[in-house]
């Protein structure tokens, strides 16, 4: 009788350990999967830019011509149109140069 009770307790403890281990495995796998998916959507899947429609798909340049590549990247990069460093100042009289439609 005592042996049967001991065996039952040991079996219960063994079963609980298995369930606990299985629970942690599932949770761990879920967390890893979530990280992989988040990375993929945030960076990986959109970065190949085969199609021009990807957000940020044409930031930066592949300039190999004359001029400064880094500066060109700064010129064309950025997620929005960039305001000037200094706002134009008022002036009187004619201009040195004319900005108008062409």
């Amino acid at each position: 009788m005592r042996n049967d009770v001991g065996h039952a307790i040991a079996s219960r403890a063994f079963g609980l350990r298995r369930v606990r281990r299985l629970t942690w495995s599932i949770a761990g796998a879920g967390a890893v999967g979530a990280v992989v998916l988040a990375f993929g959507f945030g960076f990986g899947f959109g970065s190949h830019a085969h199609q021009a429609s990807g957000p940020g798909g044409n930031q930066g340049t592949s300039n190999q011509g004359a001029g400064n590549q880094g500066a060109a990247r700064n010129q064309q990069g950025g997620g929005q149109l960039q305001p000037p460093q200094e706002i134009p100042l008022p002036a009187q009289g004619p201009g040195q140069v004319v900005s108008g439609g062409s």
Binding site: H48, A49, H50, Q51, A52, S53, P55, G57, N58, Q59, G60, T61, S62, N63, Q64, G65, A66, G67, N68, A71, A72, Q75, Q76, G79, Q80, L81, Q82, P83, P84, Q85, E86, I87, P88, L89, P90, A91, Q92, G93, P94, G95, Q96, V97, V98, S99, G100, G101, S102
Partner: protein, 316 residues
Amino acid sequence: MITAPAACDRFAVFGTSAVLLVTTDSVLRDARSLVDGELGAVDLACNRFRPDSEISILNGSRGAEVKVSGLFAEAIEAGLRAARLTAGDVDPTCGAALASLGYDRDFALITKSCLVTGPPAPAAGWQRIGWDRSRAAVRLPRGVQLDLGATAKAWAADRCARLASQRLGCGVLLSLGGDIAVAGQAPAHGWRVRATDDHAAGPDAPGQTVVVSSGGLATSSVAVRTWRRGGEHVHHIVRPATGRPARSCWRTVSVAAASCLDANIASTAAIIRGEPALTWLTELGLPARLVRHDGTVTRTAGWPRIAPDAPTPDLP
């Protein structure tokens, strides 16, 4: 601060007029040489009226993939950037739309009343451009025609001004048809720019003079580059969704930005957007001067009011 007067060179390019200003007299010829070389390369890449240009070859590729030069790749990306940042209001796939309006050759060759060449052709949509940056390869679906006219001039102005300033160590202003790029150390009083309807107008044409020291300033207007198509008066700023000239509440829009390219993207999009452009420009912090057809002027984001009477510095 540089106090020496600027040296000036004026010349014709891209079917329009250009002005080159440098802060050091002695480098003007070298600056012009650099600019000429760069503009020649841009023309060979982006001129859709030139059969040997990269853009003509691409437009004739009938859906095949085309490898492009680094320079043309940058021009394409400038066009795509304009489309992305304006939600497609400035779209590089307007080539067929412009051709259907009769703008299928150098503007100087368009007769005052060209033949009707077909129904309006809405833009195919910039998302349909297959652009692989890593391989510098582009594929246009059959029937899609690229036109970089809305961005190439301003983009080229930025490149040229930056190149000349870096190579020659001086301040540079370059205007290509009124799209103005500034690089390097500006003169002590800055560069004086007259904002008006037509870049070919005189320096005291109706408008406003402002001083800029960096970045770019560009103006778009429906009052210039106009012609008649059949019995209809048309201009070159096309609404991509319809393929027809934009009917805007604005006659002319001038914008200052960190680059000439950004200024030009904004001024063109503002014409197309009409009234909502006021909120858009304000939220972006882009100083702009918007002129309605009746001459009424509205300003955004700190664009200055007309200056009170004050002594005018000597011009070069």
